[in-house]
Amino acid sequence: MADSQTELLVLGGGPGGYPAAFEAADHGMKVLLVDEGARPGGVCLNRGCIPSKALLHIAKLINESHEASEWGLTFSSPKIDLAKLRDFKNGVITKLSGGITELSKVRGVKLVAARGTFLDANTVELKHADGKIERVSFEKAIIATGSSPAVPPMFQLGDPRVMDSTGALELADIPGSLLVVGGGYIGLEMGTVYAALGSKVTVVELTSGLLPGADRDLVRPLQKRLEKQFAALHLNTKVEALKATKAGIEATLAGEGVAPKMTFDRVLISIGRRPNSKGFGLEATGVAVDEKGFIKVDRQLRSSVPHIFAIGDIAGEPMLAHKATREAKIAVEAMNGGKAEFDNIAIPAVVFTDPEIAWCGLMEHEAAARNIEVKVVKFPWAASGRATTLSRNEGLTKLIIDPKTERVLGVGLVGVNAGEMIAEATLAVETAAVARDLAETIHAHPTLSETLMEAAESVFGQATHSYRPKRS
């Protein structure tokens, strides 16, 4: 027998779960939000997006303090108080997490810190930190259990010097040398942080390029800068083994021009993430899971069991917090009889390196793979006044355009603040704006956003600050 009952159970308090709980409460539902962490917010807030951005902010400041000498402003080398730096990062988490707790309270969402395990499709068992166990029956459920860093068994040495992203964010020390396994966004962001703090960072990537899946035009300026900041970038290289030694973690590497054995003070494994679909009784609900471990959902985020929904990383790629939040709203509306469905055209992706990379919608290589005819226009930031004032001209704004209608199908950005600029681009793609809509909207001067306007101008004419000689 259940000890209590609720209308809606939300399992997982990350950027999918807590917005779902709030939205449901705002719809008048009785909501129980269960998160096993001491602080709600999920990976994003506690071990992901937020703490990494706090650290990247510091990294940027350190880098700029060095670069400033070029502009006639010389600082002495920064002194790093690691404990205080960690406190800053943790303070950010505590502040935001406290906000979620407070918002739960005012909305009447019952927030419980416990590990939830399904007993059947209408009952969950909650195990509290103090060992207390209770059973709750629910009418509907939203599963938002997220994902975890994937660490293959061969890298699981049981040695704290081999870390996943969670370990890296804890910032136990500043290692003299750090090996980053995997040149994806997590590896490059954390590599940037550690490099700025003084570690010699070596990145090893299995494929032929950093950030597999991203547009090469966007990756190029980043790679050029990282080559200066990092000790080494090894592409087409495989980590065949890791061994814990007294001197450090010895890595066996296979790749052209790479020393076969190298020793590092620490290793970060950042090769990807896996959906959390095991270990909480999902089987007992009858919810169908695909071969990769994602819960199968329809366009309304409804699982194979009609009263159970799944959102966020557990519901499929791309594993991005903002996708989860959008899905939360759809799932709640759908379970209340609304006709919402996930029909978004553009899900922005941002890599918070320096320069930042951001894109949304259709990319040039995807258009080629899908045999879609597109027109590609590029506006180099060498022609941007604002970029010049920042002494950061390496950026690029790239538009993917439908040649027939001049509709903006995709946008790629690389440069400082690309992550903020992608918002306008996403709005353009999502609302099916055409190049003229962007070109004839007044953009504030001098800003980096002007590059979107100018790129759009060159779709049908000439950009003010960039001239392509006419072909005769």
Partner: protein, 423 residues
């Protein structure tokens, strides 16, 4: 080298269709004109012939998938086409061995494109595989109104569909009176087990058309009984004596003939109402739609120029259309151009019903099951065979007195076969 076959033509004005069946498999050798798939559009299930000959090397679509005109649906290797047709069954194995090196090359190509296909989030296509040009608010409105965004043309830049376009489309289909949006359903599973069964495209189309007609047309139904004792006796005798294999003359066929005579006398029943211009569009041709109940849903094939055909010709044509309807072989043209519809439940039962006018027509005749009744004839109680008729009409176009006159004339014609000859 494999070539693509694209489904270029799905029928006039058809913007998308679902793959209802795939009749070929990888490895099949087909001749030009071979029917490779059945495509269910919102109007009919259409056979899709392939105009090229060759060996099917890859299917690019799956059953149930929605395709658009111009979308590539399969790859075929034209080189392999000649092999069986030149040699016939037994000898082909030797030839096949000779032909195997090029075939291998083909396979490699196919494998590569299959890998690309697997990677792509949407099926690869050569054409306009783009999301519909409409913003989130517009898409939501269309969803809430139950409108298919793909069928709404955009007035914005680059063909962008605006909120106003959707509102206009809704007003158009709802007769300008504002469409009623159904409130959300309760959770029925609270009370017991439920099962959700998907509506087919055909069912959706019928549902939309019926709602539209119901909302736009002020319906009135006129009921009457026709004494068909003698006509039915004559009909039976004719059918019994008819040569084997000659088409079956049914009461529906006779009703078609009688209806045309009535339509000629009352031309407003053979019209459409142009509410925007405030005009009645009277048609000088007489095409009668016959509602056919099929396992896949209701379809209304149209018999053209009924006034110019003999009863036997009509019987033959109706039999053919009904068969096509049940086999899902009707072409779009078979269902277009109707001016009046007849729907019959005579084979099942009932004493009367209120059929819904098949918009943009203005009247529909329903026929129930004929039954023996006691009638007073010249002061004597006699057994007569009575056919219940139910004529629904658009009261904006037809007034009640005319509907009664129409029905009375129709009853009289069906009572007296002779009148049909001169009518």
């Amino acid at each position: 080298m494999s070539i693509e076959f694209k489904a270029d033509n799905l029928g006039d004005g058809v913007k998308s269709g679902d793959v209802a069946a795939i009749m070929v498999a990888v490895g099949d050798v087909i001749q030009a004109g071979h029917i490779i798939m059945e495509i269910e559009t919102d109007k009919a299930v259409l056979p899709l012939p392939c105009d090229k000959a060759g060996k099917v090397t890859q299917l690019l679509v799956k059953k149930g998938q929605t395709i658009t005109p111009g979308q590539a649906v399969l790859m075929l290797d034209p080189v392999a086409a000649g092999v069986p047709s030149m040699n016939g069954g037994a000898k082909s194995s030797a030839t096949a061995a000779v032909a195997s090196p090029p075939a291998k090359t083909t396979n490699t190509v196919v494998a590569t494109s299959a890998a690309a296909l697997a990677k792509a989030p949407l099926p690869a296509s050569s054409g306009r595989d783009l999301p519909l040009p409409a913003g989130p608010a517009t898409r939501r409105l269309a969803r809430e109104l139950g409108l298919n965004l793909a069928s709404i043309s955009g007035s914005g830049s680059g063909g962008r569909i605006t909120l106003e376009d959707v509102a206009r489309a809704a007003a158009g289909s709802g007769g300008g009176s504002g469409r009623v949006v159904e409130p959300p359903l309760p959770d029925f599973s609270k009370y017991g087990e439920v099962e959700r069964v998907a509506f087919s495209k055909l069912q959706k189309t019928s549902a939309n058309n019926l709602s539209l007609a119901w909302q736009v047309i002020p319906h009135v139904t006129q009921h009457d009984l026709s004494d068909i004792t003698e006509t039915e006796a004559l009909r039976k005798r004719f059918v019994e004596n008819a040569a084997k294999g000659s088409p079956k003359v049914t009461m529906t066929v006779l009703a078609m003939k009688a209806v045309v005579a009535c339509l000629k006398e009352f031309p407003n029943f053979n019209s459409s109402f142009d509410s925007a211009k405030g005009e009645i569009v009277q048609k000088k041709y007489f095409n009668i739609g016959i509602a056919v109940d099929t396992p896949n849903g209701l379809v209304v094939p149209v018999v053209k120029h009924v006034d110019q055909k003999s009863i036997l010709e009509l019987a033959a044509e109706l039999t053919e259309l009904a068969t096509k309807a049940r086999d899902r072989k009707l072409q779009l043209a078979d269902m277009q151009g109707g001016t009046f519809t007849i729907t019959t439940l005579g084979g099942i039962g009932g004493t009367s019903f209120t059929p819904i006018v098949n918009y943009p027509e203005v009247a529909i005749l329903g026929m129930s099951r004929s039954q023996k009744q006691l009638q007073l004839v010249d002061g004597n109680v006699t057994e007569r065979l009575m056919l219940p008729l139910s004529l629904s009409y658009d009261h904006r176009v037809v007034n009640g007195a005319d509907a009664a006159r129409f029905t009375v004339k129709l009853c009289n014609m069906l009572s007296s076969a002779f009148s049909m000859l001169i009518g």
